[in-house]
């Protein structure tokens, strides 16, 4: 049996080992993979390596330029107006799923990237890559979905492109968009704006889009009624800006990689710690049950109509009420707060009363066997 012994003080060797790890972590990500795997597209560490190790060094002219901020949309000055610009691509399978389809997703996803920059969406271009043999009925349906989602979001489709590739070179249809919006004069949003004490809000129950897609793929023989949450988030942003103005510090839509990935990215880039109260996180019973069965954490599951907002503490309640008055965000909740220590980490106070670290995903969230 082990001897009675109080925890020994940290030895110099342990300090040295921790120092080696810190040095390794602080190094800029280097993209050294021989091939692209699905993990590079999953929104976790591999995606980050691809972006920070290959794309940013190649494209960013200066270390502190627009691109280096890695926001959902970039901003430019044009004729005295601040313009937000973004592009996105959509390769969802199946094309239609409960609560939406690829066309609707393309419009809302692009509009939301603009809204997260505090920009009122104005116009989109949509390019289509179509697979030879695609049924025209499917195409017509998606064109209609794009048109009606654009109308609902108050944006105009001002251009586009079509390409047809050989059968097998694409899977039915892919959509690529560019969006442009005018940055609202009330908005003062940036990752640097996040401060210890800020409250973290989500605009509704999480994980519904990802769950709807997983179930629609029919791999699991699970029957459950769950709709994707795809929607334009501009009305929610508009309401938040109205209620809080410059006390709204940062916004992100929690798409690929879910709320957990957004929080990790922001904790790192802002050099703060984020503490999530698990019991406060809104999750619908169906999403919770599906996640339980599949061994997945809803915090990592994709959303297409949910934002994460960082607000100064005095304005948290006003922000919450503003969200709850906005159709589509009625179930918004405050889920945590920003702290100074330990920087770069997301901690969870579990509903059971313990704590854990909510880490970045390494790749796709793979189900566990044990």
């Amino acid at each position: 049996m082990s001897e009675a012994a109080p925890a020994p003080p940290r030895t110099s060797r342990e300090e040295r080992v921790l120092q080696i790890i810190e040095t390794a972590r602080a190094k800029r990500a280097r993209f050294r993979d021989e091939r692209i795997t699905l993990a590079h597209g999953a929104g976790g560490k591999a995606t980050q390596t691809l972006i920070e190790g290959l794309l940013v060094p190649a494209f960013a002219k200066t270390g502190d330029g627009v691109l280096a901020q890695l926001a959902d949309a970039g901003s430019i000055q044009a004729g005295g107006t601040s313009i937000a610009m973004t592009s996105d691509s959509f390769v969802v399978k199946p094309l239609r799923f409960p609560g939406g389809s690829i066309g609707e997703l393309a419009v809302n996803g692009t509009v939301n990237d603009l809204a997260m920059a505090g920009a009122r969406p104005q116009a989109l271009t949509v390019s289509m890559i179509l697979e030879e043999g695609l049924e025209s009925e499917i195409l017509k349906r998606e064109v209609e979905a794009i048109a009606s989602a654009a109308t609902a979001a108050g944006v105009e489709i001002v251009g586009g492109d079509t390409k047809v590739v050989e059968r097998g070179a694409a899977d039915q249809m892919y959509l690529c968009t560019t969006g442009i919006g005018v940055i609202d004069s009330r908005a003062r949003l940036s990752t640097d704006g996040i401060k210890p004490g800020d409250r973290v809000l989500v605009s509704g129950p999480i994980g519904e889009h990802g769950t709807a897609i997983m179930l629609a793929r029919n791999q699991f023989d699970l029957d459950a009624e769950i709709d994707s949450d795809t929607q334009s988030l501009w009305p929610a942003v508009d309401a938040l800006l109205d209620a809080t103005g410059e006390q709204l510090h940062c916004l992100r839509d929690a798409t690929r990689g879910g709320v957990a990935s957004v929080l990790n990215e922001l904790a790192r880039s802002s050099g703060v710690s984020i503490v999530v109260n698990e019991a406060q996180v809104p999750v619908s019973p169906i999403v919770a049950a599906a996640a339980e069965l599949l061994g997945i954490d809803p915090m990592y599951v994709a959303n297409e109509g949910r934002l994460v907002a960082f607000v100064s503490p005095e304005y948290a309640e006003a922000a919450l009420q503003a969200l709850r008055r906005t159709p589509g965000s009625e179930h918004a909740a405050e889920i945590g707060e920003v702290r100074a220590e330990p920087p770069g980490m997301v901690m969870v106070a579990t509903a059971f009363g313990g704590r854990r670290v909510m880490d970045q995903l390494v790749g796709d969230p793979l189900p566990r066997i044990c």
Partner: protein
């Protein structure tokens, strides 16, 4: 969720934590090993460590079936997956386990048809739907998953499916535990027993732990209250000077196990003379192969594989970490040759392994201790 939330009640958890504290002797340090990776996951997910007194330490055991698969076996799997016309199927978390040069995910990116399944029966369905393709299932797991592989193979045989085969990597839990317990420098006071394995094998196979090695074991469920209750039962045995197999998971684990499952396993599998465990080396009679009656379904006989043993680097000290002899940072390769991105041993492969957890969160742990 009904029948689940009842076992996650925070108030009951706090009450159990108080009882646990009352069972401990001041000045004594307790090390309890949770054998099963599922327990490690629950402990991590619910932050159970936080509810324990500082002198009760949980040590993660060898029971993560994915992490213990050695590099050579992963290489063999990849070699099979690379054959023209093969559809290679396995559980999701196996995809990222490193072989000597790459993972199954890498092989997939290079063109191998690697598919994730949730059950061996899914692999069988794929075989039925693709009669012109060879469908291979990479079977892993302890006695928990072995019966479903066995049933799948029985069904394949009765349907006469000739395009289905299986790379059998099933392992058994008792031999590695015995290997740990044999070690003279073992520093463990008790064991949280693997509830899922016990639903199949029952409680009896674990009687050697108190009998031969004088350590208590409590078979535990996987909800947070189950785990706290089991820790309480272990500490109570220690305080009362008892040493036995107790069953906290009675609602699922029958004393004699699942006889039908054991029967079908005995028909389909045979013991391998020895099997290599990542980080632990060769352990005799610790794994299963397909029995002679099922040799037709044995992918290792159907395909040629490199079958080369890829040695774990000598400096890897997973065994010592698992035994609680050294801390992760005391291992010679920790943080240098062995990192989460390039894991060598089982403790680093799983994100919940002792070494990976220390690598990622050690800095945070230090702050917590300082408070």
């Amino acid at each position: 969720m009904k029948y689940v939330d009842e076992y996650r009640d925070a108030e009951l958890g706090r009450a159990l934590a108080t009882q646990i504290l009352a069972e401990t002797e001041a000045g004594r340090h307790y090390k309890v090993m949770e054998v099963c990776g599922g327990h490690t996951h629950s402990i991590y997910k619910y932050g159970i460590d936080d509810l324990l007194p500082p002198n009760v330490e949980l040590v993660h055991g060898p029971g993560c079936p994915v992490c213990v698969i050695p590099m050579g076996r992963v290489d063999d799997g990849i070699a099979v997956a690379r054959n023209d016309g093969v559809i290679f199927t396995c559980f999701g978390d196996m995809l990222r386990v490193p072989g000597s040069t790459q993972t199954l995910l890498d092989a997939k990116a290079e063109g191998a048809d690697v598919r994730m399944v949730y059950s061996p029966l899914d692999a069988l369905r794929i075989a039925r739907e693709n009669p012109d393709r060879e469908v291979v299932f990479f079977a892993i797991g302890f006695e928990t998953t072995a019966p479903s592989t066995a049933l799948t193979l029985k069904r394949a045989k009765s349907e006469g499916l000739s395009n289905f085969s299986c790379v059998c990597n099933h392992v058994t839990i008792v031999p590695p535990l015995r290997a740990l317990l044999e070690s003279p420098d073992l520093r463990l006071d008790g064991f949280i027993g693997p509830g899922h394995v016990c639903t199949v094998v029952g409680a009896r196979p674990f009687e050697f732990i108190p009998g031969d090695y004088g350590r208590p074991i409590v078979i535990s469920g996987f909800e947070p209250l189950d785990i706290l209750q089991s820790i309480l039962m272990i500490l109570r045995q220690l305080r009362e000077g008892r040493c036995e197999v107790e069953n906290e998971y009675k609602r699922v684990v029958p004393q004699e196990g699942n006889l039908k499952a054991l029967e079908v396993m005995a028909e389909v599998f045979a013991l391998r003379p020895h099997f290599e465990w990542r980080g632990l080396g060769f352990i005799s009679q610790s794994a299963l192969r397909l029995s002679d009656a099922y040799a037709d379904f044995d992918a290792e006989l159907r395909f040629s594989t490199p079958n080369v043993r890829v040695a774990d680097p000598k400096a890897c000290q997973c065994g010592e970490v698992l035994k609680g002899v050294i801390k992760p940072w005391e291992c010679k390769v920790f943080g240098t040759a062995c990192t989460p991105e390039h894991a060598i041993g089982t403790c680093m492969v799983s994100p919940e392994g002792a070494c990976a957890a220390y690598y990622n969160f050690g800095r945070y742990q230090r702050q917590r201790e300082a408070v």
